[in-house]
């Protein structure tokens, strides 16, 4: 087996972090997160008149003494979160130096580890290549399973992002924080992201690009072949063309960012040249994804 995804020291640092959610999320099992539901915790939420069938243990007897009517004292339910990790394993991800897929694995691992250490439930789904999914990992012990799954991910053929998102939307059990690690090299990225917003996921788009994609080190007359079998492009790369490429890339990123901001998604630009620790503690924190 290759080197571990994340170093032990890094994992220890990750222990101090937690996922940040902007709103309360409903989960299935009891956990540590505020839920929109009422449940058993120490945090008072509301009173409600007693109706037949309610648990009489929840009646607030002090209030009954004053009002001579039965009221139930309601507490904020604390539940686990369902964290969704979507990792793009299309062939375009297996490119770049450092490799984008590896970086995506590391992000997913770090994110998943944070979630697991906060007693959240982690669902990982790889799309694009050979479909693979593991769901319902819980507890810190589940981290091993999570890492193993991620290590096993391999780049496959081309991905249809929109199609995958539609399917996932229907199959996901409950909404929660959703982390999409992809290079978004798909003409349908707009539709895909729009699809995901139709359920109350709290989406963070990790837009992973290799430095070779941000500033292509090419010169001269070159025929560019698409690793996913897309149409080839012939260019005469001179400074002007490269300049245009960089402008085009910037425009595209801005476009995605604007799209995400308009729909309550977080958009994080990822350059795989940046060490993963710096990225997690720097950019992710700044972006408010974790705290």
């Amino acid at each position: 087996m290759a080197e571990p995804l994340l170093t032990a020291a890094f994992l220890r640092k990750l222990d101090r972090l937690a996922l940040q959610t902007r709103r309360a999320m409903a989960g299935d099992l009891q956990g540590e997160r505020r839920s929109p539901k009422r449940g058993s915790s120490v945090e008072f939420a509301d009173f409600r008149p007693y109706t037949t069938g309610d648990d009489i243990r929840q009646i607030d007897w002090n209030l009954y003494a004053r009002a001579e009517r039965f009221y139930l004292k309601l507490f904020v339910a604390e539940e686990e979160l369902n964290v969704h990790l979507l990792v793009d394993t299309s062939r375009s991800m297996a490119w770049g130096e450092p490799e984008k897929l590896h970086y995506a694995r590391q992000i997913a691992a770090a994110f998943g580890y944070i979630a697991l250490s906060n007693l959240d439930r982690v669902n990982v789904t790889a799309f694009g290549g050979r479909p693979a999914a593991v769901s319902g990992i819980r507890g810190k012990r589940g981290a091993v399973a999570l890492f193993e799954f991620l290590q096993r991910l391999e780049a496959g053929s081309s991905a249809n992002l929109t199609q995958f998102c539609r399917t996932y939307l229907q199959t996901a059990r409950s909404a929660g924080p959703l982390l999409l690690c992809s290079d978004l090299f798909d003409p349908g990225w707009r539709d895909a992201l729009r699809t995901l917003t139709s359920r109350p996921f709290e989406i963070t788009v990790m837009h992973i690009l290799a430095p070779q994609e941000i500033d292509p080190p090419i010169e001269g007359d070159i025929r560019l072949l698409d690793s996913e079998g897309g149409p080839a492009v012939e260019i005469s790369a001179d400074l002007d063309v490269l300049q245009r490429y960089r402008e085009s890339l910037r425009e595209w990123q801005n476009e995605i960012e604007a799209f995400c901001n308009g729909r309550g998604m977080r958009y994080v630009r990822v350059n795989t040249a940046e060490p993963i620790e710096d990225f997690v503690f720097g950019q992710l924190r700044r972006a408010g994804v974790i705290r």
């Binding site: 090299f185 994609e213 292509p216 025929r223 560019l224 690793s227 005469s236 063309v241 085009s248």
Partner: protein, 642 residues
């Protein structure tokens, strides 16, 4: 084939080289196509690139062409080089010899403006064109005629130097264009080389030598179109007691009658203007009384329709002379003193005969008259001895003789102008043995009676007999003889010169510097050796430019005397500017005519093509290196920003 087509058609000296295009062209295209098989490189996704290329191609439809720009440039470069190798040429009137001798006319008539801007410039262009046509191994000699003949460059193959020499040819304002010397030199040069050719670039107003056969082909390149020219050919200022009389004469050399305005400038101020109508080939004069105070008159003809403006101006300086001091060493001679008093402009100072030393300089007292005495030491300046009693270093006296018999003068001397001495009776005269400097003007049976001559820059006249011992003072000849002698001894330096004539003026030995202010404003000085001063005379020879020359005699910073000289271009041969179509110069081949009939000159064009190829090469290289250049620019901008 029509004439214009024959004139403009281009031919090739080495047309086979064009085949090169057929070989190299396809190779370039093939190489380019091979190179078009681009290097392939797999990238993650072409998604972004497609997006970009779509943008670019939508924005600029010429992008496709730009992709092929290098190929196009290379093909163009190849075409230019192949064309240059094929050595294209345009047939022109010109020369074909390898040893070219250019005779370049730079005389005044070449300043005519009927060619643009002048004939001289047109001739210069023609000469440069001939140098261009010189075959690759050809050599050229340039001979300039007009004024002094010069050969500034001989048998040189250095085109740059030849061009430089041609560019530097200056017009000459003096002397006629004489082909004699130039053709003799050209013949000598041509005889040495078999493939020689003589090109005469001139307007044809030249003197052609007789009896010379040029051992080479002679080509004449006529310059000039018009013969319209009016020139001022005479100007004079006659002094009078109250006012002066100005005389100006203009002559029409053109073929048709013209009316020209004559403007007269007195001391630089326009004072009169008259219209002169002159028939072709005739002269027209204008006479006018002008104030005596005017010292310089300039006459100008307007430039209306005149091809040669240089001869439309003439200058005259009033010949008024200032009073001259004359020293008379005498014990009293009524005849002499009365005679001198009658002469104008003299201030006679009588000095007693006991005077032994003379302190004044020659500038102050230019003439000393010794009446019957000979001092031990002669003063500076010119000398007139009358009846000397003893020998001097100039002559010796060996005795006396009575009743000399005057011999009639054999020569016409200016001293004897209007004078007849044969009626004069002389009682006694010393027997004089003259020095070698003297010429005998009046001789007698006993010895010379009147001597004149120059020695060491001074003029000397000896009248052998004492005036009291003859009846000469009572004779009508006396005042005339005296006047002639004084005129000879006090020469009025000529103030009217033609171009090329030297300015000559007497100067005193105490003068430290002589300056000449030229009409073009330049000041030349004897300090720089440009004005010669020797033996109490000053010379200035560079009077090619018409106009007023001012000569200043200076001592220290002080101007002692100032004289003006008018230099005019009175050169009828040069003013007659009608261009000649042909020159009859006998050649060895038997030909007489020098008109170029065939167009056997070749204007080769390969240099221009090579230049164009170089430029294309440069553009191609710049285009190929555009990334590096852009990078440099970027770095520069960044550095400038920081």
């Amino acid at each position: 084939m029509p004439a214009w087509a024959r004139r403009t058609i281009m031919s090739f000296l080495a047309p086979l080289a064009l085949l090169g295009a057929a070989i190299v062209g396809p190779i370039i295209v093939a190489m380019y196509l091979l190179k078009l098989r681009r290097e392939e490189r797999v990238i993650s996704s072409t998604f972004l690139w497609q997006r970009m290329v779509r943008d670019i191609e939508a924005n600029a439809p010429w992008q496709k062409l730009r992709r092929n720009l290098l190929l196009l440039l290379q093909l163009l470069l190849m075409l230019l080089l192949v064309l240059a190798l094929a050595r294209p040429f345009v047939p022109v009137t010109g020369i074909s010899g390898a040893n070219l001798i250019i005779i370049f006319d730079r005389s005044t008539s070449m300043l005519a403006t009927d060619e643009s801007p002048t004939r001289l410039e047109a001739a210069r262009r023609q000469a440069l064109a001939l140098i261009d046509q010189l075959p690759d191994n050809g050599r050229a000699t340039i001979i300039t005629i007009g004024g002094q003949m010069e050969a500034p460059i001989a048998a040189s193959s250095d085109r740059r130097e030849l061009r430089r020499v041609i560019e530097r040819i200056q017009p000459s304002y003096s002397g006629q264009s004489d082909l004699t010397q130039a053709l003799t030199l050209a013949s000598a040069l041509a005889a040495r080389e078999p493939d020689s050719e003589v090109a005469i670039i001139s307007d044809g107003n030249v003197i052609i030598p007789d009896g010379l056969r040029v051992p080479a082909r002679v080509r004449y390149f006529p310059i000039g179109r018009s013969s319209d020219n009016v020139a001022i050919n005479a100007i004079a200022l006659q002094p009078g007691p109250i006012e002066q009389t100005l005389f100006v004469q203009a002559i029409n050399y053109g073929p048709s009658p013209v009316t020209r305005r004559l403007s007269l400038y007195y001391d630089g101020i326009l004072s009169n203007a008259v219209d002169l109508t002159i028939d072709p080939g005739r002269e027209q004069s204008w006479t006018e009384a002008i104030p005596a105070t005017v010292t310089v008159v300039e006459a100008r003809l307007d430039e209306n329709g005149d091809a040669l403006p240089v001869d439309d101006r003439a200058y005259v300086v009033s010949p008024q002379r200032e009073t001259v001091r004359v020293r008379l060493v005498s014990d009293g001679n009524r005849f002499l003193e009365t005679g001198l008093a009658l002469l104008p402009g003299l201030e006679v100072t009588r000095v007693p005969t006991t005077t032994l030393t003379f302190t004044e300089s020659a500038a102050e007292v230019p003439l000393t008259i010794f009446d019957g005495v000979v001092p031990p030491e002669l003063p500076p300046g010119n000398l007139l001895f009358i009846g000397p009693l003893r020998s001097t270093e100039l002559f010796s006296i060996t005795g006396e003789f009575d009743f000399p018999l005057i011999r009639p003068a054999a020569i016409e001397d200016p001293l004897l102008r209007n004078v007849r001495l044969t009626d004069v009776n002389i009682l006694r005269a010393p027997r004089i043995v003259p020095g070698s400097w003297a010429r005998v003007i009046v001789d007698s049976d006993g010895g010379p009676l009147l001597l004149a001559g120059e020695r060491e820059g001074r003029r000397i006249v000896v009248l052998a007999f004492d005036l009291h011992l003859s009846d000469l003072p009572l004779n009508i000849a006396f005042p005339l003889l005296l006047s002639n002698m004084i005129e000879y001894l006090l020469p009025v330096s000529s103030v009217q010169l033609t171009t090329g004539q030297p300015i000559v003026a007497p100067v005193d030995s105490s003068i430290e510097e002589v300056r000449v202010i030229r009409p073009d404003g330049r000041v030349v000085s004897s300090r720089e050796g440009l004005v010669q001063v020797q033996a109490n005379q000053t010379f200035y020879t560079d009077t090619d430019l018409p106009g007023i020359y001012t000569l200043e005699e200076r001592r220290g910073n002080e101007v002692i005397a100032s004289r003006r000289f008018a230099v005019n271009l009175f050169a009828p041969a040069e003013s007659q500017i009608a261009p000649q179509r042909d020159l009859a110069i006998p050649q060895m081949s038997g030909a007489q005519s020098t008109v170029a009939r065939e167009r056997d000159g070749r204007q080769e064009l390969w240099r221009w093509l090579a230049l164009a190829a170089l430029i294309v090469l440069l553009i191609e290289w710049l285009y190929y290196q555009r990334n590096a250049i852009a990078l440099l620019r970027e770095r520069w901008r960044r550095r400038a920003a920081s």
